[in-house]
Symmetry: C2
Subunit: 125 residues, 2 copies
């Protein structure tokens, strides 16, 4: 499949796919006149990349981790990287849980009907 089809079937932009190649995350083949050609597996790969980006990983980290996720290479460096990222995500989850709890506290107190909360006028910017 060509880049446009992969883009529409994954929901990411054509520009993003070219960027992934630039970052060596997803290297397509080339057909005759130089157009990119992706196989079916690219769909899952793109979705994995998007998931990792959404988890806050950088292109560099994703590039280093993908071979591990593919379970093809396994070096001391890659294990260290995996553990480091796992710990980072762990801390990030803790942070988010704390913030969520704080927001929940504000929400429940503000949604309690007769708790004396005053309505202020909106202050648009």
């Amino acid at each position: 499949m060509r880049i446009g089809e992969l883009a529409s079937s994954t929901g990411v932009s054509v520009r993003a796919l070219r960027y992934y190649e630039e970052q060596a995350l997803l290297i397509p083949g080339r057909s005759g006149g130089g157009q990119r050609h992706y196989d079916e597996a690219a769909v899952d790969r793109v979705q994995l990349i998007q998931t990792l980006y959404a988890a806050g990983l950088s292109s560099r980290t994703i590039h280093d981790l993908l071979p591990c996720v593919d379970a093809k290479v396994n070096t001391p460096q890659s294990r260290a990287l995996l553990n480091a990222e796992r710990d980072r995500i762990d801390r990030q989850i803790d942070q988010l849980v704390q913030v969520r709890a704080r927001l929940d506290a504000v929400i429940s107190s503000s949604e309690a009907p007769a708790n004396g909360c005053a309505y202020a006028d909106a202050t648009p910017r």
Copy 2:
């Protein structure tokens, strides 16, 4: 206290504190010659701001939410914003938990001693 003391007692940079003021997150008083002057409560406020930034909230969102967290105002708009951010954080946590699980799977399989994992040569960039 002046900006330098607040900076060192919170761990954020002087530049960041000026930026917070620019974003209307923390407005200090001014002394005579125009120097910023913060009260003690500013320390907690700065730490709250940092926490919210760490949770991925934007300056704009934090600006809109701070009055709610202060529990002083309570409008339909603010409640909608609170719920929206809470849901966003919820989804973000889900994402992170999934990625963590995936990394854990890779880690446990790669750390299993005799599983036939091959050592590849490092591919530095």
